[in-house]
């Protein structure tokens, strides 16, 4: 299979206007992924599926990720003049990562027997502008998994043929997989509570703690 950088440049050549970014994964898995922009995502997906070299005809998994706003700290070395002598000084650089929701697609090729290539899309924010284009018209297997993301993360997939909740009921207001989800307080006694459950246990059974 071509490398991710090759795929990226081929996408940019084939789909005019598309911006593709390689998101690196620093863990030992080193499974890097492609971030595509919302406007061209369907065209990029169609290219990945139909291209004679790539032929990603199977989308095995779609999942969501919730990224709340976070302050990232990063140490960088800067050369500075200290008392007339040039020295390397470490400085802490702080950046604010905006909040957004992400949909992640894992693509394989049955015909070429290669993969996976990981495709990501990000929403503008996690409050109102949570729209992404649906890739169900490209890969039918996305249908239920996009519904699941709609249910649990609250991403609205435009162009999805049947976008309804799948696990929770109609009329349910929350998105349980979001990191700021607060579950209903219905703790029941447990003999060996621990971690978060212990905190709840203390609230309900103060005598036990």
């Amino acid at each position: 299979m071509e490398t991710l950088a090759q795929i990226k440049s081929r996408i940019e050549a084939a789909v005019p206007g598309a911006t593709v970014q390689i998101i690196s994964n620093d863990s030992p898995a080193a499974q890097n992924s492609l971030l595509v922009d919302r406007a061209h995502a369907v065209a990029v997906a169609q290219f990945l599926r139909d291209d004679a070299e790539l032929k990603f005809d199977y989308c095995s998994n779609v999942t969501g990720v919730d990224w709340p706003q976070a302050e990232l700290t990063e140490k960088i070395k800067i050369k500075k003049l200290v008392d007339g002598v040039e020295k390397e000084v470490e400085e802490v650089k702080k950046t604010i990562r905006p909040a957004y929701l992400e949909a992640v697609y894992h693509l394989y090729s049955m015909e070429k027997k290669h993969g996976p290539v990981i495709l990501r899309m990000r929403t503008e924010d996690r409050a109102e502008k949570t729209h992404l284009p649906s890739l169900t018209p490209v890969w039918r297997s996305c249908e239920f998994q996009e519904r699941e993301i709609f249910d649990l993360f609250g991403i609205t997939f435009d162009g999805h043929p049947d976008l309804r909740r799948i696990l929770m009921w109609e009329g349910y207001k929350d998105h349980p997989m979001r990191k700021d989800y607060v579950e209903p307080d219905d703790y029941e006694y447990e003999p060996t509570p621990h971690d978060e459950v212990l905190e709840k246990a203390k609230k309900h059974y103060p005598a036990a703690s």
Binding site: L167, M168, W169, E170, G171, Y172, K173, D174, P176, Y181, E183, P184, D186, E188, Y189, E190, V197, H204, Y205, A207, A208
Partner: protein, 202 residues
Amino acid sequence: MDEGLKNELQKQGVFTTTLEEIYNWGRRNSIWPLQFGLACCAIEMIATTMARYDLARFGAEVFRPSPRQADLMIVAGTVTKKMAPQVVRLYNQMAEPKYVIAMGACAISGGPFKQGYNVLKGIDRFIPVDVHIPGCPPRPEALIHAFMTLQRKIAEQELIGAAQPRHLNPDAPSEFPVPQYGEHDLQPPNNPKVWRAPALVR
């Protein structure tokens, strides 16, 4: 009736019994379960009915596809919050006398999904349960044991007096409120008339 006299008569070829005894004997040996399963416990329930474990020996081989014809509800598996109203509604549609076996860790307490946002922490929050079976899933022997426990319970029911079972008391409820889908949880999250939070006694 005096036990000694009863034995004496039996030796003479005269069989005596009470109405209560024969009524309960008849009922406990033909408990027809409702044919429905919710998760993997249902597979064990199916195994129990097949030739190897043979639930038919206890008069319960006829699984009814309609709640109107069933006497026993075996809640076999995880009850999600989305499924709970349907389970309560099925129970309400069954005719008295009716019994419930909660089979497996999920049905009695939520089991491994107890902390989950979408799983009911035990069906006994909404309907009265006669026998609880622990296990994940319980083996067919455990279901048969629960079944025999239920049979013993039926055999001990008194037709008259204060200890009458629910189905003979016209004032006792035979239907229980069906929970509604709320915005964040089921409304109400439990039925305080059949369930209350376990108290910690020290």
